[in-house]
Symmetry: C2
């Protein structure tokens, strides 16, 4: 009997992009390590680290002058560049330390009452779920979980799963853009339409999206969108953003209330006490590097390479296999750059199932 | 008529410490800048920045391995060193980004009800007051201000001012250890005794204390104590701590709820999403540097030098002069390393009235 090729399967890996002079030496990575896990922590290129060092040196040469006179405009300049990269207006985007902090920011800005519900899915990031449960418990509210099938047959299953647990008591819905445990790209625009129709504010946890997907954040129709720059975009650790729809900005406040409170959305987030802002200021350099690597072509190739790789993964006994996750290039079941097996909740960051095409395998 | 010397005045500056080979080159400071303002942002010595760079390189060489396997114990090692420096047990101390974040952490961990009161003084840090007002307003609670005289005649005035606004509705009292706008060392042990007797939890904002005062945090009797390492201790920006009395730890949670939630005090604060932990890990190097500079002898000399300097400051018309602040070496009215005039609340970090003896004037 003839061996059948599954639909959407790939017989060979995608062709390498032209690597305009890139080599492994672009990164500080240990030569002994094949680094496959930008999904946990991106490896930051030397060029981006050098830019970060430049900012730090400026800061240390004249600390007070830098913080007081140079930082505010530099920060907005970096935010503007990142905003353009994700299709947003600069005035709607602020820096946060990571997407978990972005989600906590929204959760702690809102007020919940006894009986209120926060909607999540069983594909969500465990840390964010803990944050939702913490905030809910303090208010006598509840976290309600939408059970989304896995593997998925089509995008409508996600919308149906969420719809089945939406109630008049739902006060916030939180969805991963690319689900952390299962690497599925959720149909965020359809979910936004559903939530809008129900009058439910929606937060998208786009932890894995920047540098993996081509983003046009405002077009999604979410109320908030947070994303990490230190995973697939390889910016320095601690660089992430929180985009907030204009009508939600007056009620969205940083976790650290400081001098800027009451002075407007971007002013509140611009100063959250003394910190090293160099990671945020180096995001433009990370975008430059990403563009030099290929930008949209790189993102597309990574997705294809992830599918190709996942078809060659050995399934973990008793777990849905990565191959079953990615039989088709349809966006709602294509994993981005990851080939994931469902992982135990207790140690979500220990699994190195993510697949980076960039540092470890392509440019040697 | 003979010119009288005010009591406690100094005729000459204190003798320099022996500067064991130190020079201005120990810092990255611009040679054109006389840096007088460690009270806003400490200038970090090259030796400490080199240690930070060493940690960053370790992180970038094996990102996942570092974060997962090396960071947890490294972080507790750094915390243990800092805890010893401030007289505390390691298990009672966690890192936060800055003292404002530390205060927000406590404020947001507590639950307030309508009618509750948060007690502050009019010598408190404006950003922390804003945080208290934000938290209070969300709960229908109120911030009550104790009017502390300025200049002070004696420590009892501080205790009396606080006592006059303590009520059965007071749920939290927040005091600066060294007051930010007025550079007074508050009698924190006496205030703690007062609050304990009244059953009121007390948070000390020790933003300026580490590296300026010799600390034995547990002996104060506070419930929480937060302090910055990036001011007078000159650790990298974004390094601070929150000490929490054992009986308060179960109810004290980080601003970013993440994987560690529910796993104990230090575990919760050890992982608050991906961030650059190198500033925290370099605090031991900053302590080493501080000790090399003289440690307790340096702190004492700085205090004397600040008094001497303040007596030579020109008073700002209409403001209590710095000289009036420091006629005596009594701890409750000795400014630490600062000679401050009362500053407008709107821009508390713009005033460069602080006086650093370390980088700019002593070691050339």
């Amino acid at each position: 009997m003839q061996q059948r090729t599954p639909p959407g399967s790939l017989r060979s890996p995608p062709s390498p992009l032209r690597g305009e002079g890139f080599s492994r030496e672009e990164w500080l990575l240990d030569p002994e390590v094949a680094f496959l896990n930008h999904g946990s922590f991106g490896a930051t290129p030397r060029a981006v680290l050098a830019e970060q060092e430049r900012w730090r040196t400026l800061m240390e040469r004249r600390p007070t002058h830098f913080m007081d006179r140079e930082l505010p405009s530099a920060l907005r300049g970096a935010a503007a560049r990142l905003a353009a990269f994700v299709g947003a207006r600069a005035e709607d985007l602020v820096f946060v330390e990571n997407a978990t902090a972005g989600c906590n920011t929204v959760l702690r800005s809102l007020s919940f009452a006894p009986g209120d519900e926060i909607l999540v899915t069983d594909h969500g990031y465990p840390a964010v779920r803990k944050a939702a449960e913490y905030v809910a418990a303090r208010a006598g509210a509840h976290v309600v979980e939408a059970p989304v099938p896995f593997p998925l047959a089509d995008a409508a299953q996600v919308v149906a799963a969420v719809s089945s647990v939406l109630t008049p008591r739902t006060r916030l819905a939180i969805f991963d853009h690319i689900t952390s445990p299962t690497a599925v790209i959720f149909p965020v625009s359809e979910l936004a339409a559903l939530c809008r129709a129900a009058g439910v504010p929606m937060l998208i946890d786009g932890a894995h999206a920047p540098g993996m997907l081509s983003l046009d954040v405002p077009s999604i129709g979410a109320d908030w969108y947070t994303g990490n720059c230190h995973k697939w975009l390889m910016a320095p650790k601690g660089s992430a953003f929180l985009w907030t729809a204009p009508e939600r900005q007056a009620d969205t406040h940083p976790l650290v209330i400081s001098h800027g409170f009451g002075q407007g959305f971007t002013a509140e987030f611009a100063w959250v006490g003394t910190r090293d802002p160099s990671a945020w200021l180096s995001v433009p350099a990370a975008i430059d590097f990403h563009v030099r690597l290929g930008g949209a072509r790189l993102r597309e190739r990574n997705a294809v390479l992830a599918r190709w790789s996942s078809q060659r993964c050995s399934p973990v006994p008793g777990k849905p296999s990565a191959a079953r996750l990615t039989p088709s290039p349809a966006p709602w079941r294509r994993c981005g750059c990851r080939c994931a097996n469902r992982r135990p909740r207790s140690a979500p960051w220990r699994c190195a199932a993510s697949y980076s095409t960039i540092t470890a395998s392509k440019y040697r």
